[in-house]
């Protein structure tokens, strides 16, 4: 029931938000909906934790073999928590933004949430695909209507790019469905498939391209900085905080357990791409003058690490518990990082948005000295920036730590090279993040930054929430790890391809 509610609340909330024409009203409705779904998730995480509450199954598109089935496993729950927090932050962050046509704005925002919820919770492939697109369309409209100067071309690139990926995935889904004995789109049916290697080799790419574009993995990333730059920051928050996680969740759920052999065959290539992506994005970030682009590239780098870690889980354990154990360690890190990076980047965008709206510029070269004139803001920024470079005791550290661990255990002859190169990303991330901090906050003030900037209550609230989460999960990541422990243990068994090799 919870799962269904999490989909329905934003959907209906979005519909209701569309109706009133007064901006305040829409805003409040959106906040209400966001709070309600957050409350729903929290209730689901605490009071109604049993799977029973997180499952929903109904007839739908029987002739196609698809059902409306939602199932919240630990990852799904975690991601729905992130989604709810993300939307709440987005609403809070834009509380004073005075959006034109705010009823449409918030309506689309909530629909996007509904789509993402479906993606995170669906256990039916076709439903998953629907969610995938349902999240995309509102995002497209949001970016194109309320975005920056070059929004039309840029978001169009974004849309077409992701669309191409997703239709390829659709082919893959249909193909898999045709292989299942009773023509079903159910996840379990997919997982039970035993697809010969010769098919996995190419099926892999149908899925991987879709997800790689979403994440994005180098060299499929070029839509991202442009889109993040041009979108209204509220939307960018959701795009980068939650939506890119869709790609990873999809890889975790719809690729590794199903196309294990294909993944294994190509894992070196993917890890290689990811590692290149880390370095590439970091180097570009170092030379960025635009705050939003910088954050965008930093996000590419971070996600690159997660993808690399994920693909290094692929392989055969020969049923050795030690190997499975290492895989579980890595996978836990990935789950943790999915959540943590979401939170951090949400905070990052809140701050970037504030700067842009206050000073009308995103250029680092036009800022400076804010540490003196806006100390509170600076503290928030520093904290989140440190989380961005995965400083210990921030939430990103344990995640990255475990991810590197996964990379170290990859079944690849090049793993050490991968590890070191990916590790360079850690250094580079420090360079560009601190560079950004230095250029915005340190040095002398100029005319623009002379008067500082004040945070409103809503913003303080939102930022405090982010910082609180950063610190809590930085000091006690075990809370998340405990939560996902059983799930991840089962999962690494499911993606182990030993059983195929035996045949």
């Amino acid at each position: 029931m919870i799962a269904l509610l999490l989909f329905l609340v934003p959907l209906i909330g979005g519909l209701l938000t569309f109706l009133p024409n007064k901006s305040g009203m829409a805003r409040s409705l959106a906040l209400g909906s966001a709070l309600l779904s957050l409350a729903g998730v929290i209730a689901g995480l605490t009071l109604f934790k049993q799977p029973l509450y997180w499952e929903f199954d109904a007839e739908w598109l029987q002739t196609l073999g698809s059902r409306f089935s939602l199932k919240g496993d630990a990852m799904g729950m975690l991601m729905s928590l992130l989604t709810s927090i993300g939307v709440l932050l987005a609403v809070l962050g834009s509380w004073n933004n005075d959006v034109q046509g705010s009823n449409r704005f918030y309506g689309l925002l909530l629909w996007m949430q509904a789509g993402m919820m479906v993606v995170f919770l669906a256990s039916d492939a076709l439903l998953f695909y629907f969610g995938w697109e349902l999240a995309l369309i509102p995002a497209y409209f949001l970016c194109s209507i309320w975005g920056g100067e070059k929004r039309i071309a840029v978001t169009f690139k974004f849309f077409i790019y992701t669309f191409v990926g997703s239709v390829l995935m659709l082919i893959g889904l249909i193909y898999l469905q045709s292989l299942t004995p009773n023509h079903s789109f159910q996840m379990q049916a997919f997982r039970n498939l035993e697809i010969p290697e010769s098919k996995q080799v190419w099926l892999f790419w149908l899925f991987f391209l879709a997800f790689a574009i979403k994440v994005p993995v180098f060299p499929f990333h070029t839509w991202q900085p442009d889109t993040y730059e041009q979108s209204p920051t509220t939307v960018t928050m959701l795009l980068s905080g939650v939506m890119v996680k869709m790609g990873l969740v999809a890889m975790i759920r719809w690729m590794l357990p199903i196309l294990g052999i294909g993944v294994f065959i190509w894992s070196d290539v993917v890890i290689c791409l990811s590692v290149i992506g880390i370095l590439y994005a970091s180097l570009i970030a170092i030379r960025q003058d635009d705050l939003k682009r910088l954050i965008a590239y930093s996000s590419i780098a971070h996600m690159g690490l997660t993808v690399a870690a994920l693909f290094s889980l692929s392989g055969f354990s020969n049923n050795s518990n030690v190997v499975l154990q290492y895989h579980q360690v890595g996978f836990q890190g990935i789950l943790l990082q999915l959540f943590s990076h979401g939170i951090n980047i949400l905070g990052m965008w809140l701050l970037a948005d504030r700067i842009e709206r206050r000073f009308g510029t995103r250029k680092l070269s036009e800022l400076g000295g804010l540490a003196r004139t806006a100390p509170t803001f600076t503290i928030f920024f520093l904290l989140i920036a440190f989380a961005n470079i995965a400083l210990p005791l921030t939430n990103a550290f344990p995640g990255e730590f475990l991810q590197f661990n996964a990379l170290f255990h990859a079944q690849s002859p090049y793993r050490f090279v991968f590890l070191v190169l990916a590790g360079l990303g850690v250094i580079l991330s420090a360079i560009y993040t601190l560079n950004m901090v230095r250029r915005i906050f340190f040095g002398e003030t100029n005319q623009a930054t002379e008067n500082g900037l004040r945070l409103s209550t809503a913003e303080c609230l939102a930022l405090s929430l982010v910082v609180g989460l950063i610190l809590v999960f930085g000091v006690y990541p075990q809370a998340v790890l405990d939560f996902t422990n059983d799930f991840s243990r089962e999962y690494v068994k499911a993606i182990d391809i030993t059983r195929f090799l035996a045949k």
Binding site: K157, I160, Y161, F218, P219, H221, T222, W223, Y280, L283, I284, I286, R287, Q288, V322, Q325, Y326, Q328, V329, Q332, G369, A371, R372, P375, F386, L391, P392, L393, F397, P398, F401, L402, F404, N405, F408, H409, L419, V420, G423, L424, V426, I427, A430, I431, L434, N435, R438, F441, F442, G443, E444, V475, Y476, P477, Q478, L481, D482, N485, S488, R489
Partner: protein, 629 residues
């Protein structure tokens, strides 16, 4: 709760509390309150450390398990503290000297506004907290948390005066260079996890058996690279001199009590591994002595009082690594301790000088301060003697232990080390005479303002001076006093004592006498040369080389930083838009182009349309009937 071992929890928590109170309340608290809170928590922490020190059981370590930081299946990384001889000793040094520096700072930073004053103390407390975590951590991960934490705090403090771009640059540099080392440290941790499944120090002895020798070599090498970052060794030392950008007490903190000693501490902690990796030890010894020599040579021609001290720190750290490389971990830790005393003293003394000189740091513009700053002068002299290594000052004993171990390892090492020690004496006294001797060379205005520092600053100086004198007496060589090496003995649960001197007493006397005599003559030489200030505008290429620090910074700049920078720029402005995105855009553009061409087929001519149809029919039919089988 307040008894051993639980009281140990308070040691890190108190500075953390101070950080939170001062950080959050900085706008609402008075400066006095801030200073009291900041120093007070340290005093309490010191007291707690003392309790811990005194109650330490003689056997194995005491473990305090707070909670599980990361636990996945068999992998357990608890958030745990380990109390044993090594950590308790460091706790004392850190909290003790930290306290003194806090007290000193309360006066030194008095001109800051309350808000920044609060910020400053908050940072200091956080710094101490991180260092305590590093030292108390019961496994490599917790140690790493503190390890990165001190990096962070040094970043914050070096960039404390954030309005000066150069300072914030220096802060960035410090952080980034540290990160390079941190990466190696991290990889070492992964390696350990991969091979042994544990990162706890207590599991190390057991783990040794499951590690192959190449594993051990790799892990120790990587850990050492980590240490070079934190402890400013070749090739990652250049951040430390730049770190002088921070307020002087901060320099004292970094150089004496915290941060730079972390590398030594970490290796001492892992001594079991290192002993099993002779190759690494050799590398460490070579790097250590090379760093010591390099830094000392640079220090000779530096004119900034803090820069001289900074290079001297690098050089002294080199000594410590030399000791480690020679397998004398105890000597290294000993030197950490004595060095903490006299280097803190020297830095705080230099702070006092700078304070008096209204921020002037160039020793060429000083001189004759002996009369105006008597306390500072006197304590500074003690510090210089201690660092030069004249008995019975503390530096003598620790340095002697190191030289001895170097001699045991290889006479060449000893020779170079001795030469470096002489250089040390030379540049220290050069600075000393230039600063305090001769006549005043500053501006009139500066002269007008000259004054001795307040008690809050001089008191720590005096305390440290006393420590600099007597601090070495815990490690009096066997030669002079049987059972005099109390420190080594104390550390023996952690650092097993290697039995048996392979050196005769006469040789040992000879070496000691040689070094002491040479040092004294070098000091005399320095006195003759710098009693009166002489301009040193030497154009000798070698002198210029030293003055410019062997151009290492420039080398890094042109060999690493610039190329990366340029490469990043090229990626950003050419590769990304033109190649990567260009390909994507190219697809779109070519579709548009094809579209533009293909629509010309639609000529509007009915005859053409029919022709196309007929041709298609012919093609399809002929393929169907004559080609397809």
């Amino acid at each position: 709760m307040f008894s051993f071992p639980n009281i140990a929890y308070f040691i890190p928590l108190l500075p953390l509390l101070g950080f939170l109170v001062n950080g959050l309340g900085r706008k609402h608290l008075s400066k006095g309150a801030i200073a009291w809170i900041g120093s007070g928590v340290l005093a309490l922490a010191f007291a707690a450390s003392l309790v811990v020190f005194l109650n330490l059981p003689s056997g194995g370590p005491t473990l305090l398990n707070a909670f599980d930081f990361i636990r996945i299946g068999e992998l357990r990384i608890p958030f745990a503290f380990q109390l044993d001889a090594l950590s308790s000793l460091f706790l004392l040094i850190i909290t003790g000297i930290g306290f003194l520096i806090h007290v000193y700072s309360s006066a030194y930073m008095h001109e800051e506004s309350a808000e920044h004053y609060g910020r400053y103390f908050a940072y200091l407390n956080l710094f101490i907290f991180s260092m305590l975590l590093l030292v108390m951590g019961a496994n490599y991960v917790i140690m790493f948390i503190g390890w990165e934490g001190v990096g962070l705090c040094s970043y914050l403090l070096i960039g404390y005066w954030f309005r000066k771009p150069a300072y914030t640059q220096a802060a960035n540099k410090a952080f980034v260079m540290n990160r390079v080392g941190d990466l190696a440290f991290l990889i070492a941790i992964f390696w350990l996890i991969a091979r042994t499944g544990s990162v706890n120090f207590v599991d190390l002895p057991a783990a040794l058996s499951s590690l192959s020798s190449s594993d051990i070599t790799w892990i120790t090498m990587l850990l050492f690279v980590g240490a070079t970052g934190k402890s400013a060794q070749i090739p990652l030392y250049t951040w430390l001199p730049d770190a002088m950008a921070g307020p002087t007490p901060v320099s004292a903190l970094i150089h004496a009590a915290t941060m730079v000693t972390a590398g030594i501490y970490m290796i001492a902690r892992s001594n079991l591994l290192y002993t099993a990796a002779p190759l690494t030890l050799n590398v460490i010894a070579v790097i250590g002595i090379a760093t010591a020599l390099l830094a000392a040579s640079i220090a000779i021609r530096q004119n900034d009082i803090k820069k001289v001290l900074a290079y001297s720190t690098v050089s002294q750290l080199g000594f410590m690594f030399l000791a480690i490389g020679a397998g004398a971990y105890g000597a290294a830790v000993f030197h950490v301790m004595t060095h903490a005393f006299f280097k803190a003293l020297l830095f705080l003394g230099s702070g006092s000088v700078i304070h008096a000189m209204s921020g002037e740091q160039d020793i060429r513009r000083m001189g004759g301060l002996k009369k105006v700053l008597p306390i500072t002068y006197f304590t500074f002299l003690i510090g210089c003697i201690a660092i030069a290594g004249i008995p019975p000052f503390s530096g003598f004993f620790s340095k002697d232990a190191i030289l001895l171990s170097a001699f045991l390892k290889s006479p060449i090492l000893y020779g170079v080390a001795l030469f470096t020690a002489l250089l040390t004496a030379f540049y220290m006294f050069r600075m000393f005479f230039l600063t305090f001797g001769g006549t005043f060379r500053g501006t009139d205005e500066q002269k007008h303002h000259l004054h001795e520092s307040p008690l809050a600053m001089t008191l720590p100086l005096m305390v440290l001076a006393v420590l600099s004198v007597i601090g070495g007496w815990v490690g009096i060589p066997e030669l002079f006093l049987h059972g005099g090496e109390r420190l080594i003995e104390f550390l023996s649960p952690v650092i097993p004592v290697v039995e048996g001197h392979a050196i005769s007493h006469s040789t040992e006397y000879l070496l000691m006498g040689l070094s002491t005599g040479l040092v004294l003559s070098v000091i005399f030489f320095a006195w003759t040369r710098y009693r009166q200030y002489r301009s040193e505008e030497s154009s000798a290429p070698f002198a210029r080389l030293l003055e410019n620090k062997w151009y290492v910074d420039e080398l890094y700049q042109t060999a690493i930083v610039q190329p990366l920078h340029r490469f990043g720029g090229w990626l950003r402005s050419f590769f990304e838009p033109k190649i990567v995105d260009g390909l994507i855009q190219g697809v779109g553009r070519s579709i548009r182009y094809i579209s533009q061409q293909i629509r010309l087929l639609q000529s509007g001519q009915t005859g053409n349309y029919a022709l196309w149809m007929v041709i298609s029919i012919v093609v399809i039919l002929s393929i169907q009937f004559f080609v397809r089988k």
